[in-house]
Symmetry: D2
Subunit: 356 residues, 4 copies
């Protein structure tokens, strides 16, 4: 990390970047309110921090010890509002700010009517963003793979419904990309691109999505430690895109006998991640539990743990949903969650901030 003096010139910054490239690394230039900070992408061992420290305009040049550097809180201490967490702006919403954000909608988009009806319901319930899967990652090749898994035209049509529903009800839109071929079209229609848990390790997909310069909802893999999760978020920031919303959605359950939930939601990961990085963190109580009757309690618990928002599956008729019927709730139930969570957020937010 190279911290420039507050009065460093554009030429001086360019000179430092040139020097970095000469050593075979890439540069991440973060122009903050008070100064510019330059992160490094590549093997830090190839560079002489001592030498870079003597270049004109450079205040300090130093290594970051964590395996994730560009997403580390240490790095953020020197740009923008000095160590404060990042607020990610997407469509008309802000994630990581004073109020919790609710992203809701069906697991899979099934029809235009379904989507509009659900969008209307969640808007009334107080949600801020609409989710809807067009390209579904599925454990079985024999299951429904989402409306977008056929031709590009079919994908575009389903995506256009998402955009239309978002515009009509003033909701930001989120959709998942499952493979590299879907990145362009998804970025054309949605406000936020989701990278699902199963693709957390897919560095080629991460790089491709990052270059779209759109906000990314990035889910933790169910077998990933926090260090790995942040190290893969680093692949996105290495492309110059810091608009990342991290999402805890449950890790593999352990122990013998029947599993009562699909995954084990790791809520302590939320305050931990907030201490390690400046990126906002949300939680997914629907996929993690896989049980409608647990969504209220796990939503409240996620916000109490410090989450900046929630991603919840909603359907007007949960039992009819083509995918994940057993965990969707109604928009009435969503309203109860929004109300309780806003109150809990106020109780914990001052304390969470103070600690971080």
């Amino acid at each position: 990390m190279i911290i420039m003096k507050s009065d460093a010139t554009k030429e001086q910054i360019a000179e430092v970047v040139k020097e970095i490239k000469k050593c075979g690394l890439r540069a991440d230039v973060s122009e903050g309110k008070y100064r510019t900070v330059i992160g490094l992408v590549g093997d830090e061992g190839k560079i002489s921090f001592a030498r870079i420290g003597t270049l004109p305009g450079v205040k300090e040049a130093m290594m970051i010890e964590t395996p994730y550097k560009l997403v580390s809180r240490e790095y953020s201490k020197f740009f923008e509002r000095e160590g404060e967490s990042l607020i990610v702006k997407a469509g008309n919403i802000e994630i990581g700010g004073d109020a919790p954000i609710f992203i809701a909608g069906p697991c899979a988009v099934e029809s235009k009517e379904q989507l509009l009806k659900i969008a209307e319901g969640i808007k009334k319930a107080g949600a801020h963003a609409l989710r809807g899967g067009i390209f579904k990652p599925r454990s079985s090749v024999h299951s429904f793979q989402g409306l977008g898994s056929g031709s590009q035209e079919e994908a575009a049509e389903a995506l256009s419904w998402l955009r239309e529903a978002g515009e009509k009800f003033e909701l930001a839109t989120v959709t998942e990309v499952r493979g590299e071929a879907q990145v362009d079209i998804a970025a054309e229609y949605a406000d936020i691109i989701q990278i699902g848990a199963r693709n957390m390790y897919n560095q080629d997909l991460l790089t491709k999505v990052a270059r779209k310069n759109k906000p990314i909802l990035f889910k933790r893999h169910f077998g990933a430690g926090i260090e790995e999760f942040l190290s893969f978020a680093e692949y996105i920031v290495a492309e110059g895109n810091k608009d990342i919303i991290l999402c805890e959605r449950g890790i593999l359950p352990i122990g013998k006998g029947k599993s009562y939930t699909r995954y084990t939601i790791d809520l302590a990961a939320i305050p931990v991640i907030q201490r390690e990085t400046y990126l906002p963190v949300i939680a997914d109580p629907s996929h993690s539990s896989g049980r409608r009757d647990l969504v209220f309690n796990m939503s409240c618990a996620s916000i109490a743990a410090g989450a900046s928002g929630l991603m919840i599956e909603v359907h007007y008729n949960p039992s009819e949903a083509l995918v994940d019927a057993q965990q969707a709730i109604t928009s009435d139930e969503l309203k109860g969650i929004v109300d309780a969570c806003q109150k809990i957020h106020k109780l914990v937010a001052p304390r969470s901030n103070e600690k971080s």
Copy 2:
């Protein structure tokens, strides 16, 4: 499970019990408000439910399908207040009632002065019970094993301080037994006997403690599924003791790289267990996280998940504590937790009950 008619006589109940014993099983007789229910301990295959169903005074005789029977919600539907959760009374407190209960104190008792000072602090902060370890389970034979690990006299002295502190500040007292030889003396002095996570599978210890007819704080092993946890609680109820407070204290972390917490607290286990059993459930945010800076958020999250109380490590000077110094908080910090948690409990409690 055998459900007696509401007007069944003592003789009729005795006759059923006799019949059960004849088949080589034991009987758990639960006299509820409206009727008596008889649970079975042993292999249900050895008994003819059809035959038992014809005995005088018997309303219905049927199998319970879960591997845990006597602790199942199904069983509780027929006794006491018809399916409501059990309220465990211990000393002057009630666990599982309308308000959350806070059990606080040092990981290990170090001296009479230490214990009295901490007891005073937690009482002021709003705690209801005092914890203090005399017999410490430790990963290393080379570490401090607790003041009670020497002679019986030393154990009795340390336990008497616990009793004295409890009486002086009107706090119920909790202490852990690590081995069978400690059960008698611990039961003599403490209001609640704790069985720690590492002893969850120790059926001989469970049986011995159960027979003391004192409330038991029973912690889930870090490698145990919920089915196993409840199946071992069944060993306690099989001795006729239903006064069990279940405690979620974290399971083994998974994933590569550095662990940021000692364990992964499984908060979804709380509402799950509440749907499976009538026993109250609390959480331990101190041991599960192993980090002082996470205790506030994880306490709030546990209550939001539906916990009936919390067990928190408190020390007047955390950095001085002989055991687990890195996770103890001060009583001032405890007060902030008690305040926030009481408000959160009110927000979630009506919904949690409604669901169960």
Copy 3:
């Protein structure tokens, strides 16, 4: 699954396939020695097995109960050599036959000289195939990503060395693809395409690679159960490609304290998978252990567990390797492994077959 009569005509088969497509499913036609079997890709609920059973040339139409159908041993019972395991042919080698196969080479290709030198060494040691990574999946964006991560020309050059080394020393060649953009070029140069553990869930990549009609070395994800592993192999077979070599390479370690190995190699998975599917299974003792000093014992243990081959990292100077230096062995050490493993394979092979 639809089993055709042994004298079914091409027209009758085509008629059944037409019928399947009409119901919205795809057909996998397996022409075996004795008869043709047709597997289904899609939701079996949409089809009437009773009706299909009455079509001319159809012997039997029935559901397969496992979530993986086209890779199940049940399916293989009706084609080829009636339930025998599949022998995958790749280049000049056969995997799954009478002798164990040894795939060896550097983790990452570093230069033409390095690759040729290693190829020569492993050939002398008795290896059958040469591995070499051109596109490396890495946990850190700051680490070396493989020679192929720059331009297509650089990738083609490195791949041409692999082909040259393979031809010179009569070794089949294996290389990993990390993203969809690398599939075409890799398929042009290598005999076997590897899909690494981190991409096991990447169904779009699986589909794209499957369509190349080349043998695929498919590694189990470190967080995947066996059911999931086989369900994702099903994505490959659903494209009509059965030439899959499954590879066990270790799952996430559990338990507190220091990890002594990188992963926990799950050797019981080998005989289990052999009972569930007709595909051959090999093991990777290098990546799973991450320790040079364990490779000998874990190689022998893998073969004793029933593996059809091994994938082992070899370098002429392990400490110099750019990637995974701590687990590479020399070709001399490889020779010792090949010798011991061939003897062990003879001791266990008859018994393994007899059981499956």
Copy 4:
């Protein structure tokens, strides 16, 4: 650790021990062939190694860095045969020597006839020791708890059958103790006392068993890391008993979907433990897999991984066994395993030793 000079006198050793006790620690005196080594039990921080180093007869005084000290290979380098592994003698057998040892028998002792019949069968098959459970740890209070769970007389009778069968067929005998109350009687009858996986963390039981000065078969808990496993073995050595046979018997499976085995046998743990400690390690392919059809392959794999022996469940009529019927094999099958394993042991043994 304090290494005495080879000519140190008894008085000098006693003086060092006295000094250690003065600091509040205990001493483990190991009289080796060439010299005496004194290990420390307790907090090493309380002692001045510099000062101890100056006492008469002391060659060197130094800390051991691992959390387990008295069981570490480092400690063993200085006593007995200088770093060689320990050979544990029990009854007429030696574990850890030149040949693998086979411990076989029923999971639970059911009758005298059953035990004698099985003992005869395993003896013919080549086994060296007879196992038989009298006190069974069970997940359900409703299951058969073993013949010894009633009165002391019943326990003594069942144990006497074990001794009789052992004497009659010249087999060493092994039985498990589940609780502290069973230690005296089990030690009276059996040659080797087993501490099962669920009791690995039960330090009070470990201490009590250790003091019997009998060989102990110590199983790894299914949720324990290797560091923890060895740290609890240290509780036994801290009582002066080094006759410990470590046993790998499977850890918790991870991953979604159906479990095909009861546990995941961690075979890499075997060579790892052999590098960390001087104690012999065996494996249990029966409990770890829970499947009769996997026992042959997993036995061979365990020996190939370097195990010094196996513990296998045998029954003359597996389907009739009261406990764990699905994993018991016949003595004919055992014979096939013994034969294959003896050959595999010869192939790997020289290499395993050379490495450690």
